[in-house]
């Protein structure tokens, strides 16, 4: 690789730091009796997050594992295929996960679930323009257009449960629930689809976990008779056997007794409900949904009159304390979130909400009257969402 003065030193630096850290802690991991597999997982998670953050460009060097590149490319292929065909390609990333898991034979059952967590946000991020699946038999993961994934990982009571919330462009909250047994669901209130991804659990020695199926039915408002309201993508990861079963159709479930029957029953219920779909029941069912949802990102989508009143009182106290100009009172009703901010106006700059931060060490800080001079070194900067580094930085500013 030719290294010119123009090449970005950041990816190389980060990569070398990652390698150093991983190698140094390998001993620590072994001392604690933690498997090497976990170390690899840490590395993978770390690198994935860096890639997702897009703060580093060119991070993915050629030297890196072909596995990651292959998975990434196949994920991209999945995106393109879904955008084109609106079809089943989304299964690929999970499939890839499955194959990779099988190849590595993780000993901890929670490991595959973790990878799913990592991958699914990616899928969701990349699923921009996928519409509804037209074919009832197509196993698709369809999200409404303009979904911007917004997920918070909230661990619920179970160790292996995580909830992700996806906020669509409309402001609706999709609850992407991972139940304790590993089944994943996407619940869209007021939308057409109930999306389910099922990871049928292993028959664990510890006992069979009965699948907790939360079905919130919101049959289609318009007429899409072909579309089943429930599109189930069962992904069966069977670690002990080498089976990867993907079922496009709801009714064709693999032969795991008990669980499958429950699923089938509920699926039948879904289909029956859809058969008699009318605007009334869906709305009722839609109304039933809100209680099931935990809206964590703040109530921005309901009318906020009450909140405005509270904000106003709160704001008046703030103003009295701070002796601010009266001009900010007028802003209270409009943007309660912004109203108490200090003098600087804009929050969203340069398309990013990033606070531009420079973390470094100082050699010398000098001031003359109101002229300041900065001599800094060994710094990492995040400006406009991108990362930069420097060994020396010299700056001037007037106060």
């Amino acid at each position: 690789m030719a290294s010119s003065a123009n090449s970005n030193p950041v990816p190389k630096l980060y990569r070398s730091v990652i390698e150093d850290v991983i190698n140094e802690v390998r001993e620590l991991f072994l001392d604690e009796g933690v498997d090497e597999q976990v170390l690899m997982e840490l590395k993978t998670l770390w690198e994935n997050k860096l890639m997702q953050s897009k703060a580093v460009e060119g991070f993915h060097t050629e030297e890196q594992a072909a596995l990651q590149a292959a998975a990434h490319q196949q994920a991209q292929q999945a995106q393109q295929a879904t955008q084109q065909a609106q079809a089943q390609q989304v299964l690929l990333p999970p499939q890839q996960q499955v194959t990779s898991w099988q190849s590595t034979r993780p000993t901890v059952t929670s490991a595959p679930q973790q990878q799913v967590i990592v991958q699914d946000p990616k899928i969701l991020q990349h699923m921009s323009a996928t519409g509804m699946s037209a074919a009832a038999t197509a196993a698709t993961l369809a999200l409404p257009t303009g979904v911007s994934p917004y997920h918070q990982l909230i661990t619920s009571q179970g160790n292996l449960s995580q909830n992700c919330y996806i906020k669509t462009a409309d402001g609706q909250i999709l609850q992407f629930v991972r139940a304790a047994n590993g089944a994943q669901y996407i619940i869209q209130p007021q939308q057409q689809m109930v999306l389910q991804q099922q990871v049928l659990p292993q028959m664990q020695p510890g006992g069979v976990q009965a699948p907790v199926i939360q079905q919130v039915l919101a049959p289609l408002q318009g007429g899409h008779p072909q579309q089943t309201g429930v599109i189930i993508q069962p992904q069966q990861i069977v670690l002990t056997g080498n089976k990867v079963q993907q079922n496009a159709q709801v009714m064709q479930m693999p032969g795991q007794p008990g669980q499958v029957q429950q699923i089938q029953q509920q699926v039948q219920q879904v289909q029956q409900a859809q058969g008699g779909a009318a605007p009334g029941p869906p709305q009722q069912q839609a109304k039933q949904q809100p209680p099931m949802m935990l809206q964590v990102d703040g109530a921005g989508d309901t009318s906020s009159e009450d909140e405005d009143e509270e904000e106003e009182e709160y704001d008046e106290d703030e103003d009295e304390d701070k002796d601010k100009d009266g001009g900010e009172d007028g802003q209270v009703e409009e943007e309660p979130l912004n109203s108490e901010d200090d003098v600087s106006d804009e929050e969203d700059q340069e398309l990013f909400d990033t606070e531009n931060v420079v973390v470094c060490q100082y050699d010398k800080i000098h001031r003359s009257k109101n002229k300041w001079k900065f001599h800094l070194k060994d710094g990492i900067m995040n400006l406009n969402g991108r990362d930069y580094v420097f060994s020396k930085a010299i700056g001037d500013a007037e106060w």
Partner: protein
């Protein structure tokens, strides 16, 4: 003990998040995660000191400054960062700088209780 200053960077935060995920699934202990972070501190400090060799200039207006516990914190507005190759402009930037002269004995984020002598006579 190296500065823990660099934990709040893209690299550091992604490491912390990854460690948190592993802790949540109980694949590692919090103690082990802490050890990893300490190792990260060493590695990033070394890497920055040895493997980076570029200069940056910047100019802007100083909005606020703070010097506490030997840490400077500045907020600048309308800043231009200039490197040989390119120019980056931002409306607002926060600079956090630890003392570059002494290698850190107490980390930036730790609480240091400085004994004050009260002379009673």
């Amino acid at each position: 003990m190296a500065y823990q200053l660099y934990r709040n960077t893209t690299l550091g935060n992604s490491l912390q998040e990854s460690l948190d995920e592993l802790i949540q699934t109980q694949q590692i202990t919090p103690q082990l995660a802490l050890q990893v972070l300490l190792q990260f501190d060493k590695a990033i400090n070394t890497a920055l000191a040895n493997r980076v060799r570029n200069r940056v200039n910047f100019k802007g207006s100083l909005n606020t400054y703070r010097f506490c516990d030997n840490v400077w914190t500045f907020v600048l507005n309308d800043v231009e960062f200039r490197e040989v190759t390119d120019l980056v402009k931002v409306d607002k930037v926060k600079i956090v700088a630890c003392d570059g002269k002494s290698s850190d004995y107490f980390s930036h984020s730790s609480l240091i209780i400085r004994p004050r002598l009260f002379l009673t006579q």
